[in-house]
């Protein structure tokens, strides 16, 4: 099993005719994902390497039965694209766009919650989701993932998500689903959403969690794990040496005063019974050890 997506998930790409949309959309299709359409206003009726393009999400959904959308548009169009997806009947939206203003993200998130309660947004500014061998929506390179489980991965960072997949795949340990939730201040999907799904998923036997400085999502996840999680969790939190008050690349990765430090997050996770590791390699090794002992 996998979470959020599977081999039957039909995906449309908003922005398929752009260079990024085309590149990633076709890569996702090549991986085996059912990429059934693209959306670019004014380009309906054309196609991208055989994938039909529609003028609106609504048209694309009516014609293809898609339930998921991959949003690859510039920051100033991303919020509208996300809302259009929800209005058009999409229930799972993956937005990789980096650089959306925080106020737009907050507004879009709350509009989705209030007007479209059944819709899940992953991202923005995330690598996407891959269920190895079944579905890949986003920019993760499919060849570093390994099908068959039993590990679920949830990560706030892009490249570290790849690092986590690599550490496991190199040792022959597969993944059920790997979710990149993104590093922005207002993520549509958070750690707890993913942990809850992994806890329910019978094929996921253990979870690897990659956090980073800033915010308090890791601490909240720790609370949730303590109360609800029966499966082992291995965690790594990036940014132990990050100086306070500086944004470390991601808009969300900032230590404000004494809040949001890596140490505070690691302490909370440790107290919740999570195996906290000092670097991605150690986290990979720990997970391999846990899985092999099962």
């Amino acid at each position: 099993m996998s979470i959020f997506v599977d081999e039957n998930t039909k995906v449309i790409v908003q922005g398929l005719t752009g260079s990024q949309g085309r590149f990633h959309g076709l890569r996702n299709r090549d991986y085996g994902t059912k990429v059934v359409g693209g959306v670019t206003p004014g380009k309906g009726g054309s196609d991208v390497d055989g994938i039909p393009v529609f003028n609106s999400v609504k048209e694309a959904v009516d014609a293809t039965g898609a339930t998921a959308s991959f949003v690859v548009v510039p920051p100033k169009f991303a919020s509208d694209a996300i809302i259009e997806a929800a209005q058009g009947g999409i229930t799972f939206i993956v937005c990789i766009t980096e650089g959306i203003p925080a106020h737009d993200e907050a507004l879009t998130y709350n509009r989705l919650v209030e007007e479209f309660p059944g819709v899940r947004l992953l991202g923005p500014n995330c690598p996407g989701i891959i269920s190895p061998g079944k579905c890949n929506i986003g920019i993760t390179s499919g060849d570093i993932a390994l099908a068959g489980g039993p590990v679920g991965i949830v990560s706030r960072s892009g490249t570290l998500t790849y690092q986590a997949l690599h550490e496991l795949s190199m040792q022959g340990i597969g993944q059920t689903t790997c979710v990149g939730i993104g590093g922005d201040p207002v993520p549509g999907t958070n750690f707890i959403d993913c942990l809850a799904e992994f806890e329910k998923d019978p094929e996921t036997k253990a979870v690897m969690m990659i956090g980073e400085i800033g915010g308090s999502e890791e601490e909240r996840a720790a609370e949730w794990i303590k109360l609800n999680m029966t499966k082992p969790v291995v965690a790594y939190v990036a940014g132990v040496t990050a100086p306070p008050g500086r944004k470390m690349g991601h808009a969300g990765a900032i230590i404000s005063g004494s809040k949001g430090t890596a140490q505070a997050k690691m302490d909370a996770l440790t107290a919740a019974g999570v195996y906290v590791c000092q670097n991605p390699t150690e986290a990979g090794a720990k997970m391999v050890e846990i899985v092999r002992a099962m």
Binding site: R156, G215, N279
Partner: protein
């Protein structure tokens, strides 16, 4: 981007928030000219992006031209926690009856906006939050609904602002919220927000942080740019379009992805080294980007070795390798470079580098091995 006080006040004023009449001064004569224009007494305030200006002697009251001159001479060039004062803000002094606190910021856990209002202003809000949390009235604001005047009226009552200040404060808070949202602020803070003896409410200070992601719709922010970098390395990196933060160590860091870059800093630290910088070259690591990155790090005299940590995803490692070789042709690098290359096309990338490897260009198979090597070379 953090604004100086004077920039924040101009930003507030643009949204109709009352501030004291004043202007900036870069020289003693300019300070005198501003004081003569706005009228005595005036306050001479150091413009630095760090707290504790008052305690450091960076804020002084002046009753006449001699005092303005004396304070301006003393404050210009003053070092406040590593920030050298290059500019002053001179404004008409206000009589203060009461000091309040008001701010808006993003409430990340709740994914809403957070307003904080207190009748106990003029001190650090963190201290109030610690010692007397009930003195702060918190308001969670749904971004879809915004802040209405009716809500603001309830809020100022809840915060127990003085009766005579309530209506003016409620109106000011609505304007501050508009400034915060329409102005794309990460933080809009007034501390203190004052009530004068003649019952006027206005902003005596301004702390504003702008969300750089929104700069595309704020051409007016250009006027705030230019002097936001104290660190010459960061200035150079910004000019080259790099995501760089200067640190104090000896191992220069280049990585792709913010998380991996942060993690690289951590690992260098764990194996006994110190990072000279944070540098994320992002997804498009071509020769130009790599050359620019190496150039910025090479210009840092503290750097003794350079650790290039790449995990290819969309970025292809062979492209990175070509970039490094191309960069080395263009730039003469003073320190040995240790590379860790994994991910998409890693084998091709390593093969490209193989004929060029020597004691100053080294590859290691893993992140940890590469960190140890780079640290050994730096220490």
């Amino acid at each position: 981007m953090d604004l100086f006080e004077y920039q924040g006040k101009r930003y507030f004023a643009r949204h109709g928030i009352a501030v004291s009449p004043g202007d900036v001064a870069d020289t003693v004569d300019e300070a005198v000219a501003v004081a003569e224009r706005v009228g005595y007494p005036v306050v001479v305030k150091a413009q630095v992006k760090v707290g504790g200006r008052g305690k450091a002697g960076g804020v002084k009251l002046a009753n006449n031209v001699d005092e303005v001159r004396e304070h301006a001479v003393n404050i210009l060039g003053l070092d406040i926690k590593g920030h050298v004062v290059k500019r002053l803000w001179v404004e008409r002094s206000s009589d203060i009856a009461k000091e309040y606190y008001a701010s808006f910021t993003l409430d990340r856990p709740n994914k809403t906006h957070l307003g904080m209002l207190s009748a106990q202003g003029g001190v650090e809000i963190e201290v109030v939050a610690e010692e007397n949390p009930e003195a702060i009235a918190f308001l969670s604001i749904d971004p879809v609904e915004g802040l209405t005047l009716a809500t603001a009226r309830r809020w100022v009552a809840e915060a127990e602002l003085d009766d005579v200040a309530r209506e003016q404060s409620a109106e000011l808070l609505v304007k501050l919220y508009e400034c915060y949202t329409q102005g794309d602020c990460d933080l809009a803070e007034i501390n203190p927000l004052i009530l004068t003896p003649d019952n006027k409410v206005h902003a005596l200070d301004a702390k504003v942080t702008l969300d750089e992601n929104a700069s595309y719709r704020h051409p007016e922010w250009e006027e705030f740019r230019g002097d936001e970098f104290e660190d010459p390395r960061e200035k150079m990196a910004k000019e080259k379009g790099l995501n760089y933060i200067g640190l104090d160590g000896t191992v220069g860091i280049i990585a792709n992805g913010a998380g991996l870059a942060m993690s690289t800093l951590d690992v260098v630290n764990q194996v006994g080294g110190t990072a000279a910088n944070f540098l994320d070259i992002g997804g498009g690591a071509n020769a130009d980007v790599m050359a620019a990155a190496l150039e910025v790090i090479n210009a840092d005299p503290k750097v003794k070795s350079i650790f290039v940590n790449i995990f290819g995803g969309i970025t292809r490692v062979d492209e990175v390798a070509k970039g490094v070789l191309e960069a080395l042709k263009r730039v003469s690098i003073n320190s040995p470079i240790v590379l860790r290359l994994d991910g998409t096309n890693a084998l091709e990338g390593r093969a490209l580098l193989a004929p060029h490897l020597n004691e100053n260009l080294i590859t290691e198979p893993t992140m940890l091995d590469a960190a140890r090597r780079a640290v050994a070379l730096a220490n």
